[in-house]
């Protein structure tokens, strides 16, 4: 059972969270200047890595904050977490 470190609440059990999908997919900053290929890529295409995956989780039963998580999809190890608009490497 995953233990996810919420940047605010600390380590909490996965039952308090929902998975929010691939966090490398960032909503276009300028939607009007975004091509249909870019939209397609954003909505549909996934690197789907076998290894480190950067993803969103929502602490929905807790402080209701969205977070970014780097997790290994082969071991389920959680390497780092950060606020949704934060940086995983700091």
């Amino acid at each position: 059972m995953l233990l996810i470190k919420c940047p605010w609440c600390g380590e909490r059990d996965m039952v308090e969270f929902t998975h929010g999908g691939d966090a490398t997919k960032v909503y276009p900053k300028d939607p009007n200047a975004t091509t249909s290929e870019e939209w397609h890529d954003f909505i549909y295409l996934r690197e789907n890595p076998c290894g480190e995956h950067v993803e969103y989780w929502h602490h929905v039963a807790g402080c209701r904050q969205w977070l970014k998580v780097r997790r290994d999809t082969t071991t389920h190890d959680i390497l780092t977490t950060a606020p949704a608009d934060g940086d995983l490497d700091t």
């Binding site: 233990l3 929010g20 909505i43 969103y56 929502h58 969205w66 949704a84």
Partner: protein, 973 residues
Amino acid sequence: MTGQPWRLENGGHIDRSCSLSFAFDGKIMEGHPGDTLASALLANGTHLVGRSFKYHRPRGIFSAGVEEPNALVELRTGNRQEPNSLATTTELFDGLEASSQNRWPNLRFDFSQANGALSRFLPAGFYYKTFMWPANLWLTYEHFIRKAAGMGIASRESDPDRYESRSAHCDVLVVGGGPAGLTAAMTAAEIGERVIVLEQAPHFGGWLRREKRTIDGSPAMDWVDAVSTRLSAMADVRVLTRTSAFGYYDHNMITAVERVQDHVPKSDPFLPRQRLWSIRAKRVVLATGAVEQPIAFPENDRPGVMLAGAARTYINEYGVLPGRMAVLQTNNDNAYRSAIDLLDAGARVTAVLDVRDHVDGHLPNQVRDRGVPILQGYGVVETKGYFAIRQVLARPLVGGPVRRYDCDLLCVSGGWAPQVHLHSQSGGKVVFDAEKGCFLPSEARQNCVSIGSAAGLFTLKDCLKGANGDDVPEQAIKPTWSLPNAPGRHGKRFVDFQDDVTAEDVALAHREGYVSVEHLKRYTTLGMGTDQGKTSNVIGLAIMAKLKGQNIPAVGTTKFRPPYTAVSMGAMAGRAVGHHFQPLRRSPMDNWHHDNGCKWVDAGLWRRPHFYTRPGEDVNSAALREGRTVRAGVGIVDVSTLGKIDIQGPDAAELLNRIYVNGWKKLAVGKARYGVMLREDGMAYDDGTTSRLSENHFIMTTTTANAGPVLAKLEYYLQAVWPELRVQVACVTDQYAAIAVAGPKSRDVMQRLIDLDISNDAFPFMAAAPCCFAGIAGARLFRISFSGELAYEINVPADYGQAAWNALLETGREDGVGVYGIEAMSAFRIEKGHVAGPEINGQTTIGDLGLGGLQSEQKHNIGKSLAIREGLIDPARPAVVGLVPVDGKTWIKAGAQLVENPDAPPPVAMLGHVTSIAYSGELNHPIALALLSGGKERAGEELYAAFPLRNEAVRVRVVSPHFVDPDGERMRV
């Protein structure tokens, strides 16, 4: 009463002063507290307890623990009947009822034993090769195969017992209460760590309970009692017996089942039968012990063949003599302890057969000194007896004359297999140790360590700290998995007793190319039984390795998966069953609805009034009556379940602009507006009215179903995508009770209750304002209409919901106010052509829904760009239309498919489907909404609403979806 002829005068951890009566296959017997069902049966001289899965061969008690392959019984009766229960771990209680399984009519005479005779035609995987002709008979063949297969019979009634789960946290979790586990637990506890110790047996001690061993010169159990008593008394230590750790999940989460009341005759209604523990540990210590392995020799499955360690367990733990004349087959010194204990208990040991050519260990010599012949380099080649073993035939492994030994017990030991299951489940590796002839845990993936015999360390010295055991030196084991038949003989050498997998089956798998471990397992069913191959997997693997001419590691081992021992589904479900499967959400007026004859309908987790019954009414007539009350005067409906999201901040309008397809910047304070939002992929997602309460304050409504998801989405965009927007969102669904008041007289009624001028000029259609309603401060009034009539929606703080509801009924009485449920409400919206869940189904665009005009061209919003893909703007897409029956009276069914010719041969082209239906009180005939390819273009066309599931096809005419008051004049008066 039999008087337990095989019970020893003394010894064992049982209470001879008290007798418990139990029944096996209807026969009443007696045992003592401390017995298991198996030990009590043996005390009464019963070895024969079951039949094997495939050949229905008579089988006896083989082990004394969770590894038992044979002694499976149906425990208890009626709604508490539990098939496949292990006699070897079932604690005896007074009145226990058990019966043997997989036999008919009875254990001694079983028709299916004929399978035994046919066994040569039923090798591994025989069913893949036959039962194919004629094809249409397979279900018939299968019917008999199924009857023959399976083991016990499950109850078909609801389980009367309760279960629960709970979580726990600790610094150190110790799995196993044997010498190693107790020592580790005490070491951690002494430095003040939070410790949890799990022991699957009813008592601590592990194998020390089953041996005559001493620690520091006194009986080992004295040490066990001292340590466990001390542990139990420590503040931050939790000791749990009868608790089996079965799963090792991510991030050091161990799951275990505590059998709280399985051992009591009469259960306490306030206690669960079993409790599921989810334990999050900083460190895990696996002291799970080892399971003795047999050796596969010819006809090794007779009742009376028993693991050597089990034999001495019955003597030392239960005070039962498993046999009076014993033979021992071994490949190691440790098993000689059984010979010694048998001799001490007064049994004869007619011979020890040792596969090793030179036996000169400390323990063997003790046996030798007591006059027991030790035959070196010998192995069993045959056994005699049917319901019980009578004789053992042995010969030198290198060949030579056969010797015969009469016996009623054949003890077998092939060494010990450390229980590495949890270690492996955690992601840890296991390695094969050629000297010890077993798999050992190697590097761990998670923060856990294996100790004691679980790590292949079998002496007391390896387990204890600050205490000394009576270890004696032991001669090396000679790993041995199977023994050959005598020349020309073909005795079955069982590897997996329960599933009747023999060494010959493994050879067949090899011959046919099913050589990878997984293929071997799946083709022969090796290790697939309830014992999960605890005494058979390694042997099967070894035999395959030999056939392939490889060593065991090269063949590999199968992954260990949870659970280590089988877990009742009740324990996994805990409290979340039946009525409590999911929580039930109730509106603030729930009690009133309940007391006033409402019939409920589920809406997600909510329950909502479907309609209010009167004598002789069904849903349709009730809904019609409720609707007419509204059309004629005024009615009220509880709409509290709709999602309400409070949106505040300087950028609130900007957020709405990005979420909804339509524009919000220009919405005036005190006004409401209908909005539709898209999914990221451009499909319609949710709709509702959102009102501007002040410059920076909006209240958004969502559908009941999407209240949660929409809030989560807003939080996502505000936190992850647009953190620069200064907006705060909060769920206020539960904060307000919401009541829609509809009908021509609604204004009159409302005006009497409210502190605002709500005349059409002062409070026009789509107005919104805070107010004081029926003396309730902090209320909010909206002039919105789902019904199409003059209507209002009033929100009051939830605790005042009932007061507001009462005030409306009170005040509206003279106007004939009535209540209506969502069936009538749904009829209104269908008459108006308002789309809802059945139309906004995730497969439709706003264009399909006739809402395309809402899309603002001035701005971008979520989903806008992908909504213009070719497939989403295809004119052939189904769009919302209205339908009426051509005959003006036949009901159209929701879920009907629209076709031109229902009688055409399949595949029939489908043009769309009926989404929502109602009987229009206004038009006095049935109406429907549908999604139809081509949509409004087809207005006037006649089609069929085909419902082949009921062999119906209704002729329908396509019309505008706006059946009533298309221009919406009524709601604006």
